[in-house]
């Protein structure tokens, strides 16, 4: 869900220079003494009280395991991994749709690197490529436009995925394609919306005390977009960046809200998130996209008004219309507990398939397919050479 560190920057036409000063800025957010101080403050604020916080964003899940934060927090604080991994929540039928497009003669399929290895029912895009399909990894939606210009004899289909963070980039691609009259380009739109997913998750009641809000989505939507969580559901919210210091600071604020019984939206990630968000990006998205009546999320099921589709005005560039793609629902294997993991009802190691039938090399379920998925993060960083249930004892 986060546009992993400044992705927007390289979608600009100009080149960025990698400078030494960059890391001095980052290092302040990883300072061991400051982190230790925050951990002490969190322990004293929680005071042994059991508090369950969901980090919504897959980028947060990844960072939490990458930096081992889950093991450093007081044992009474439980971080529950949320549904904010766009690769994970994309249903298999949609992967199959992309693989089908890639196999069409004359089509070049362009997408982000994370999507290439995700298995559909008949293999991944990488498998399709090995079988002769023309699949290209791009770093920005606008790279697809450059591909289309460079290959006038082929149709470039951009397989667009992601939450509110990546949707503006796709919107700009469509605007630009229309402005230039580029005909050999289409977009297979799979953008999804995080707020309807959270509402669906909370609808059946929830044991969660609060949320660590997603930094990059909030940079687009604004901090105010989360006001419904404290108001309607009584949940604490602290919007976090992606460094250890950001995350611990957000945990501390959320814990204080819970303990004080005063849920609110706090934005410690103020260096990126404004209350109203990025109005230009919001305008681009609403010009190009409209809400679908419903969308079948992998692991979460059908959620009303939870995804975007391309508006009539841009119909010529809509791959679903151009190729008459139908939605096919392909269920996950029954042993897979991704739905429970994405809802925060189960930990990855509670699933029988975790690490045995389901690994990052051969994922069965949604949460193992991307490095931001909770199961993949635990598999990559968490296993310390012991069996999975040792995690609970280790805490």
């Amino acid at each position: 869900m986060p546009d992993r560190r400044n992705r927007a920057r390289w979608s600009r036409a100009s080149r960025i220079s990698v400078r030494v000063s960059f890391m001095k800025y980052i290092d302040e957010f990883r300072d061991p003494a400051i982190l230790a101080g925050l951990l002490r403050e969190i322990a004293s604020a929680a005071d042994g009280r059991r508090i369950r916080l969901m980090e919504i964003c897959g980028g947060h899940t990844h960072a939490i395991y990458r930096f081992g934060l889950h093991a450093l927090l007081p044992p009474s604080i439980d971080l529950v991994h949320g549904p904010g991994c766009p690769v994970c929540v994309l249903p298999r039928g949609r992967i199959d749709g992309a693989v089908g497009l890639a196999r069409r003669p004359g089509v070049t399929l362009a997408t982000f690197g994370d999507m290439l290895r995700v298995p559909g029912s008949h293999g991944s895009l990488l498998d399709a490529q090995a079988a002769g399909a023309d699949v290209r990894m791009v770093y920005s939606p606008l790279d697809a436009l450059a591909l289309a210009r460079a290959n006038p004899g082929r149709t470039v289909v951009f397989f667009a995925i992601g939450f509110e963070t990546t949707a503006p980039g796709t919107a700009l691609l469509l605007r630009q394609a229309r402005a230039e009259g580029v005909k050999n380009l289409a977009v297979y739109c799979n953008h999804v919306l995080v707020i309807p997913a959270l509402r669906a998750l909370l609808a059946g009641g929830s044991e969660l005390d609060g949320f660590i809000g997603p930094g990059h989505v909030s940079a687009i939507l604004g901090g105010d977009a989360w006001a419904f969580l404290p108001r309607e559901y009584g949940k604490a919210v602290a919007i976090s960046g992606f460094e250890p210091l950001d995350l611990l600071q957000a945990v501390l604020l959320a814990v204080r809200q819970v303990v004080a019984g005063r849920p609110a939206v706090e934005v410690p990630y103020a260096r990126a998130v404004r209350p109203e968000g990025n109005r230009k990006a919001q305008a681009a998205v609403s010009e190009v996209f409209e809400t679908r009546p419903d969308f079948a999320w992998r692991g979460l099921g059908i959620i009303p008004a939870s995804a975007l589709r391309i508006r009539e005005a841009f119909a010529d560039w809509d791959a679903e219309r151009r190729y008459g793609l139908a939605d096919v629902v392909v269920p996950d294997p029954p042993v897979c507990r991704c739905g429970d993991v994405l809802r925060g009802r189960a930990k990855p190691w509670d699933c029988r398939a975790f690490g045995t039938a389901c690994t990052p090399d051969a994922p069965l379920g949604a949460c193992m397919v991307s490095s931001e998925g909770a199961c993949a993060a635990v598999h990559q960083y968490g296993r310390l050479g012991r069996s999975a249930p040792d995690f609970q004892e280790a805490r």
Binding site: R5, R7, I16, I26, R30, P32, Y65, G123, G162, D361
Partner: protein, 348 residues
């Protein structure tokens, strides 16, 4: 033949067709090698899965290695496919403690490749070979149809002499040993990634491509008991440490803040969302040394022009066997596993 003994531990044998993931040096590469090549060629020397083989010939020991080079772009900051082919081969010989004697080179050329470019590659290769003391003494040339190659591929075989009573091996790491790296990590991989031009990042980062026999010789003089050496090329330091931990049945614990990484390489990796520990090097060596020899080995490294930024980065522990652990800035410990495929810039 680079791989670990993963397949012997019951992991899945790959089926279907070869994909790019099989070439990335991660878990899939290991499984492919183990289930196809080790299966087919099975012999005790190959099954050790070192980057070299040492053949005994009338009481003398000859080291042999072979490596194929495919890099885009062919010329990158700090080197080109020619110098890279020499350095990679000489460094694989060095992991056996072998002085390079000579190289054999095979060129696979694509129809349409400019002969002037080929001449430049050959000149750079000759220069690197002469500096490394390893002349190219025989070779072969083939041409494939346009579209069936990528300009030029180079495959190089190296022969070296093991003249000291040493037998470094990735199977010999023991609890208590120290892990050293000869310098800063990740420069080659980042330089090549940025040279491709599609990331729109600019930097002064140059490949570290270099021949390391001189450096290895200095370490062997200072610390003859070196247990293991391996050059952290494709897959980076993380992959090499996993290979050593698995082959030796030990754990390796490293402290992330102690890893030598240039600031601009760290910055580029941060922007791309990749971990410098997994990024390729072409002029670095990882050493596992017994604790009593660690200081001498480190001093010898730092005294050498190619080892000025050498660092002690970790220790070998008995448990958990086959696992690499990293201590992060906040004190949390995480597992450093093999990658499934290439380290990719993350979307989101």
């Amino acid at each position: 033949m680079s791989t670990s003994s993963d397949a012997s531990r019951g992991s899945r044998a790959p089926s279907g067709v070869v994909t790019l993931v099989h070439g990335a040096g991660g878990r899939a590469s290991h499984e492919l090698v183990a289930s196809v090549f080790v299966e087919a060629f099975r012999n005790p020397m190959l099954e050790r899965l070192e980057d070299h083989a040492v053949l005994d010939w009338g009481g003398r020991r000859l080291a042999v290695t072979t490596d194929a080079f495919i890099v885009q772009p062919i010329v990158f900051p700090g080197g080109d496919i020619g110098s890279l082919a020499v350095h990679g081969t000489v460094n694989d010989l060095a992991t056996a403690g072998a002085r390079p004697l000579g190289l054999a080179a095979a060129f696979i050329l694509e129809e349409g490749f400019p002969i002037d470019d080929l001449r430049r590659v050959a000149a750079s290769m000759a220069d690197a070979a002469s500096r490394a003391g390893a002349p190219v003494v025989t070779g072969d040339t083939k041409v494939v149809q346009r579209g069936k190659g990528d300009g030029v591929y180079v495959a190089v075989t190296g022969i070296g002499a093991v003249e000291r009573p040493v037998a470094p091996s990735i199977h010999r790491a023991r609890p208590g040993d120290r892990v050293l790296v000869s310098g800063t990590l990740g420069e080659h991989g980042v330089a090549v990634m940025l040279a491709r031009g599609n990331l729109r990042l600019e930097s002064d980062i140059r490949s570290d491509s270099a021949a390391l026999w001189g450096l290895v010789e200095a370490v062997l003089d200072a610390c003859p008991g070196v247990r293991a050496m391996r050059d952290p090329t494709r897959g980076g330091l993380a992959t090499v440490l996993n290979e050593i931990a698995k082959a030796s049945g030990v754990a390796i614990r490293i402290v992330e803040s102690g890893l030598p990484v240039r600031e601009d390489v760290r910055a580029a990796c941060e922007l791309l969302g990749i971990d410098p520990m997994y990024v390729a090097n072409e002029g670095k060596m990882v050493f596992v040394v017994p604790p009593e020899g660690a200081d001498a080995a480190l001093a010898a490294l730092r005294a050498h022009p190619l080892g000025r930024h050498a660092a002690m980065v970790g220790t070998v522990e008995p448990e958990p066997a086959g696992v690499v652990l990293a201590e992060g800035p906040a004190g949390g410990t995480r597992r450093v596993d093999l990658l499934t495929g290439d380290p990719l810039p993350r979307i989101c």
